[in-house]
């Protein structure tokens, strides 16, 4: 524990800026993945244990698209749209068969796909790590705000994630589609009885959730090495975020993800060996005090 380092940092503008931006960066990436997870659970009641693997496949798709097209935009699109399509197919062919079944069945199905996707990635791209590399537009010295360094790519990442989050929230709360989605989350039989195509709705929701994971993977590809199995750590953190924020709440996922991100970044100064522990303790605290999460619906 080094609380003096923490205190010093909070007192210093440059340190505070750096650490806050770091926390935002980690939080926003986590938010994209977790919001997809939360959306899928909130509407479909499916705990998508394969969500981390979707993030991984999105990253690999972006990597290949970037190699082929040399365009970062194309890479982002490939990761997002590719995973959205994959998610829709996954939902229609497999997930739709286990609606209403035991959560252990969901775990079995999703974990099977984690193994299949991990091995699939290994077969197609090989077991060695791959590096996409920073697109030329961002390969420049960091931006200095108040003396603290913030890499320009991270600024881009934070802005894009925030925009996507905003679009998602607007989409869910302000559009007709969003209304249907929220209604289906509350009472799927009634929605179906009203003549709304619930099958299409469910596939769309899964597609959006997977697309979000794919986008997160594509955004992370330039800064992290890609290896089979890279989805595991982000899956675990996404679960912590959804538990803390509340399953089914996009806003909850946002707040919780930021909380986790900031805990990690400041924690690595103040209690570096206990950062993971701190995250889990936070989750435990929320579970004890408000089991449905900070912004979750009362179950």
């Amino acid at each position: 524990m080094d609380f003096s380092a923490l205190a010093n940092c909070l007192g210093s503008m440059s340190c505070a800026v750096t650490q806050v931006s770091t926390g935002l960066l980690m939080g926003m990436l986590l938010f994209l993945v977790a919001s997809g997870l939360s959306l899928i659970f909130g509407v479909l009641g499916i705990v998508n244990f394969a969500h981390g693997a979707f993030y991984m496949v999105g990253a690999y798709m972006a990597y290949t698209a970037y190699l082929v097209s040399e365009s970062f935009i194309v890479a982002l699109a490939a990761g997002t749209i590719g995973m959205a399509i994959f998610g829709a197919i996954f939902e229609r062919l497999f997930v739709s068969r286990i609606y209403g079944r035991d959560v252990l069945m969901q775990l079995l199905l999703c974990y099977a796909f984690v193994l299949i996707l991990d091995d699939g990635v290994k077969i197609i791209w090989g077991g060695d790590y791959r590096l996409m590399g920073m697109p030329a537009a961002f390969a420049r010295p960091p931006i200095f705000v108040g003396g603290g360094a913030i890499p320009s790519y991270y600024v881009f990442l934070i802005v894009i994630s925030a925009l996507v989050g905003l679009l998602l929230w607007l989409g869910v709360t302000r559009t007709m589609f969003g209304k249907k989605v929220r209604a289906a989350a509350i009472n799927p039989q009634m929605v179906s009885a009203l003549g709304i195509n619930t099958r299409l709705l469910y596939a769309s929701v899964f597609a959006i959730g997977s697309g979000l994971a794919g986008l997160a993977g594509a955004l992370a590809a330039p800064i992290r090495t890609l290896t089979p199995g890279m989805g595991l750590s982000i899956l675990i953190e996404s679960f912590i975020v959804t538990v803390i924020g509340g399953m089914g709440s996009i806003f909850g996922a946002f707040v919780a993800a930021l909380l986790i991100g900031l805990t990690r970044s400041f924690g690595s100064l103040g209690f570096p060996l206990f950062v993971d522990g701190a995250m889990f303790m936070l989750m435990a605290l929320v579970l004890i005090l408000k089991p449905s999460g900070l912004f979750g619906r009362e179950a």
Binding site: A5, C9, C15, T18, Q19, T22, L25, M26, K122, G126, G127, D128, Y129, L131, G133, M134, A139, P141, P142, A149, P151, Y153, Y154, A220, I223, R224, T225, T227, P228, G229, M230, S233, I234, R264, S265, G267, S268, L269, P272, L273, V275
Partner: protein
């Protein structure tokens, strides 16, 4: 329904007998089916190694180098009319699997010699198999000193042809202390993966650094998880602490990640000196997009150092097969083959473990990978010395290593002896 008489007619008997005779004849000539003893004119070398998973390159680069050595040796006529056959098997980075694979190679596949291409944890498992089935075994790739330093772990027919942690640590301490004294770099930090290798390697480096420059102060140590995807928090912490120098035992994809993410923050653009235990492996240098110049790394492999024709030829032949330059593991396995071939020449093709071991102990072979042209297999603890323990710096255009400073073997051996006494191995 007609009844069939199971009539064993004369014809069918003759058919059966001739088939059996034919099979026996075929078997004698081609060795099909396998028998547990090797054939008269092939010497089989078994190679358990890691061919899949995250560190697959360790095994694949080892295997290719060994195959290259075997091919050259066979083309030159082999030994006493016998050819070498290399059989590599995947242990999937599991020590249990490594032990099983080794046993199978010896018992079922007729391997009379083993090149153990396992990483540290697997090598200890294989050592126990060799203790039981004493064929000649050369451990490569395993850098943990106790495999050969500890007399309780040593075995009569087992040898190590790989770099050793203690040698690199002493050489590193000498090299780094020169820089820390000349450039007044007294405030040090480490950023290494939080597991046995990361902790031990960093501790050893610092230990010898402080022996040669007692004024060095370790102001902070960062311990990211092994295979951590995001080093941002650690990078910003290093930037807050502003050390004069940073040592890292990160390797492979983790090291690449760390440097690429560090570049985003301009971590390596200031005066901070960087020391790495694993940067100089050609695939790593290749993978890093923006390689900062002037980073220090211990020798892993360099086609231009030691500078001789055989080293370059080896690199080119290897590259023709794999499409990339050899790794640290490649040269170790290539040399292991050279030791084995020399021993076989001296025993005239006799593959008995104890006989070969007798020749191996104390053997000196020519090597393109030695500054003085020869690598020695020490007789008392069955491990190699006089291999390159140099430290060098990175440069760009093209991405490579330069300014190699050869390690001082005389000093290393003195310190190693002292370390062995402290550890109770002597």
């Amino acid at each position: 329904m007609s009844k069939h008489r199971t009539d064993v007619s004369r014809r069918s008997v003759l058919k059966g007998v001739s088939a059996a005779a034919g099979l026996a004849g075929v078997s004698a000539v081609t060795g099909f089916p396998f028998v547990a003893r090797a054939q008269a004119n092939t010497i089989r070398i078994g190679m358990p190694t890691i061919l899949s998973g995250r560190v697959a390159i360790l095994g694949t680069s080892s295997r290719t180098a060994a195959e290259l050595a075997v091919k050259s040796f066979n083309e030159a006529g082999g030994v006493n009319g016998k050819q070498i056959e290399l059989i590599a098997r995947d242990s999937k980075a599991s020590p249990d699997e490594a032990a099983k694979v080794t046993r199978d190679l010896i018992n079922s596949d007729g391997c009379e010699i083993i090149i153990d291409g396992e990483a540290s944890s697997g090598s200890f498992a294989v050592q126990e198999v060799i203790r039981e089935l004493p064929v000649l075994c050369l451990h490569t790739n395993s850098e943990t000193s106790s495999l050969t330093a500890d007399p309780k772990i040593r075995s009569d027919t087992a040898f190590r042809c790989a770099r050793q942690g203690i040698h690199d640590a002493v050489a590193g301490g000498l090299y780094a202390s020169k820089i820390s004294k000349e450039q007044n770099k007294k405030r040090w930090m480490t950023c290494s993966p939080d597991y046995a290798y990361g902790r031990d390697n960093s501790a050893q480096f610092l230990e010898y650094l402080k022996i040669y420059d007692p004024e060095v102060e370790v102001i902070d140590q960062a311990w990211p998880k092994l295979f951590e995807p995001d080093y941002t928090a650690y990078i910003t912490r290093i930037m807050q602490q502003k050390p004069d120098a940073l040592y890292s035992a990160l390797w492979g994809g983790d090291l690449v990640s760390f440097i690429e993410q560090g570049n985003l923050y301009g971590l390596f653009t200031g005066d901070m000196a960087f020391f790495s235990g694993g940067l100089a492996d050609p695939p790593i240098l290749e993978a890093i997009n923006q390689l900062p110049a002037g980073m220090n790394s211990v020798y892993r492999y360099d086609p231009d150092y030691p500078a001789n024709e055989d080293n370059k030829a080896f690199a080119e032949a290897y590259k023709a097969i794999e499409g990339q330059l050899p790794t640290n593991w490649s040269w170790q396995n290539y040399m292991a083959c050279q030791f084995i071939f020399e021993a076989l020449k001296r025993t005239d093709g006799n593959t008995d473990g104890a006989t070969l071991a007798g020749e191996m102990a104390g053997m000196e072979v020519d090597s393109p990978f030695a500054e003085d042209g020869k690598i020695t297999m020490r007789a008392d603890d069955h491990t190699i010395i006089n291999y390159p323990v140099a430290w060098g710096k990175t440069k760009n255009d093209p991405k490579s290593m330069t300014d190699w400073v050869a390690g001082d073997w005389a000093e290393i051996l003195v310190q190693e002896e002292a370390w062995k006494k402290r550890a109770g191995y002597l």
